[in-house]
Point group: C2
Chain length 409, copies 2
């Protein structure tokens, strides 16, 4: 009957009613004999409201002051959740990031956790209280308030689970777990009972959106078992852990997909050692994230293709065009209205026919593949956006993701 | 060219536009060659919104968690005001209560400042920055967040002015200074150029509402010159300081008044040493504030009258009734719909005719005085609420408060 870390995201604490629901989850866990530490995000749309306030002052707020502003969001939630527990007769105590001993590196807007001093939280637990911790925030050794950036509350929860040696870190959200594909698009998608860190990491990076990749990596590194659960129901969610026992048939565990992809091609780059470095250093310096990269070297000239989010297209094209001379390419070709569909599963490592099955299935449906990228447990294909749904329906069917319990519990 | 402390109240930072105005005040002072430290309250109605959120959770929120909740209000303002200054090209840095080194006693909701470590603020000033400090809040040695209660931001400003040895502490609000009477009621009321701490204290305690009495006491104890100013204009306000030079004629400096007063009388109490103590200890234990007290001892029995805020009437009567046997009184008489009108001026000390002038003037207008209370620099009379405005108009006229510059500058 050890410690359970429970993290409630913004939609799970989006109103006073939902905060009371979250309190009931915590109470049920306490009554089952566990010690609970809760981590919460800001209430639903509150972050947007705070951002709008700053926008009323300046178009370029300093990152330090944005951190001071945004961290009030979770501070509101911790106090309200503590009150909700007290109202039900349970002793609870709220902790901001600095009160919880969460020290970060001296970076604003996207800091990493440097150290955690859990003494205050442990004192609170030993006094029989339920600590409620503000996620997403920390403090530097110089006492500046910092935030952890996107997915920060997940990261806070996992980090506290590690330092407090919690048995499990439950992530409450508005979906019931991790699915073989987005159920809003594929109605027959199945909830996974278990998934490995690496599979979750691929799905998270691919935009499945349930858990932030940083938090998953952290959990993997410290061996923290995660469970993604729905805050509005009592059903079990999806457990994320190491060494998932596989059925033979479940090579592909899930599908991910995202639209709004553009492919750019630089034709006839000079074939030199620093060609790739020059292109991608330039893009990185301007904060342009590149996803899939394909290079084909052809004697003295290289053709280089890569995919970006379509919202970055104008900026990227203007940047590359203004550096055409120094980069030395002959022509820039853009191709928009694309989408990325991916299959994920650790069973792929030992099953090389998976990619072939994927490509054949798409070909039979006349889905033209523009780019391919693979990792040990993932195959991604860039296809026309108009064919995205057809592609994932086809793959969900071909890999029999809707047929049965995907993983034995 | 020393340090100037500038405090902006809730109405002076009630919107992003007003925050930009406050920034302009600060910049003008900096450009005049001063170092500025600003103290701010929560934006206008934000505290009410936070209180409403808590009310959605529980009817009796814990004081600790209310402090955690409410202190987010000033934290929002400090970040926005810092951004507004940065937008204009000035280096500013926000400080929450704990970041500013404001340590309080371990009490929630109404803590007093125990100590201030100004090191971080001094570092900020030395680095050429403008520190923006959250008023109303502090931290205990055990790292709990506390609030200073009503008028807390004024108190923060004056305390920082003391510890930083500021030349003056400017209190920006939505009125232009301290008036001889409330200008909304007495249109001919005059703004005072100067007023003494003691006079301000009496006016503040009497509900003139511009400055909180705690802050005035603090300023008096540490000799901090205050200036009450309007955040929406550039005119000079009212200076509050020691040893104001008096004109002969200006015995009465200002009027204060408040309605909603009820007089309670306990008839035929036993005349014992502990009678008063018993009554007022009982009331104090239930948080009932008593204002004017009148006692008339008559051989073995005592009649005791006192005034309370009418909103406390039901609770007070029920409390006294349930203790009738132990207190030993024969009858409880209540008289509601009363008001208190007061004249204030340090010149009264050496002019005993002032009270007589007041009583005669009211009598001539047929205003019946129900209770009287006096201090060295104040005379208060409780009168029927229906006569309140007539009473203050009469007094404003009799003491010639609308006739001229009340104090030479």
């Amino acid at each position: 009957m050890g410690i359970i870390l429970q993290k409630f995201g913004g939609t799970s604490v989006g109103s006073t009613e939902k905060i009371k629901q979250a309190a009931k989850k915590i109470i049920a866990t306490v009554e089952a004999g566990h010690e609970v530490v809760a981590v919460v995000s800001a209430m639903g749309k509150q972050t947007d409201e705070l951002v709008a306030l700053a926008a009323g002052i300046t178009e370029r707020p300093s990152k330090r002051e944005m951190d001071v502003l945004l961290t009030t969001g979770e501070q509101v939630t911790i106090s309200l959740l503590a009150m909700a527990l007290q109202e039900e007769g349970y002793e609870a105590q709220s902790f901001t990031g600095w009160q919880a001993g969460i020290e970060t590196e001296p970076v604003h807007g996207n800091a990493r956790i440097a150290a955690i001093d859990p003494q205050q939280l442990q004192n609170s637990l030993q006094a029989g209280k339920i600590p409620i911790v503000a996620g997403f925030q920390g403090v530097t050794t110089e006492q500046h308030i910092t935030t952890l950036g996107r997915g920060g509350s997940d990261t806070t929860a996992v980090a506290l689970a590690a330092v407090l040696r919690a048995d499990v870190c439950e992530i409450y959200t508005d979906v019931s777990g991790v699915y073989t594909a987005d159920p809003r698009v594929i109605p027959t998608a199945q909830k996974l009972k278990r998934i490995s860190y690496d599979e979750m990491l691929e799905l998270a990076n691919l935009g499945a959106g349930v858990l932030h990749p940083r938090a998953v990596e952290f959990a993997k590194n410290y061996g923290i078992t995660l469970e993604v659960r729905n805050s509005a129901s009592d059903e079990r969610g999806t457990i994320v852990e190491e060494d998932v026992q596989m059925e033979n048939g479940t090579i592909v565990r899930g599908l991910a997909f995202e639209g709004n992809v553009t492919k750019l091609t630089l034709r006839q780059l000079p074939s030199r050692e620093d060609t790739l470095a020059n292109v991608f250093t330039l893009l990185a310096q301007h904060g342009i994230n590149v996803d899939i990269i394909i290079q084909s070297v052809n004697e003295e000239k290289t053709d280089l293709s890569f995919s970006i989010d379509s919202t970055l297209l104008t900026e990227t094209v203007s940047l590359l065009t203004s550096h055409q001379a120094s980069l030395g390419y002959e022509k820039l070709i853009e191709q928009g209205e694309l989408a990325k569909v991916s299959i994920v599963g650790s069973g792929m490592i030992s099953n090389h026919g998976v990619a072939a099955t994927m490509f054949r299935a798409l070909a039979e449906k006349n889905v033209f593949i523009k780019m391919v990228s693979t990792s040990e447990i993932k195959v991604s294909a860039v296809v026309p956006q108009a064919d995205m749904v057809k592609a994932i329906e086809t793959l969900h069917d071909v890999f029999q993701l809707d047929a049965r319990e995907v993983v034995p519990s």
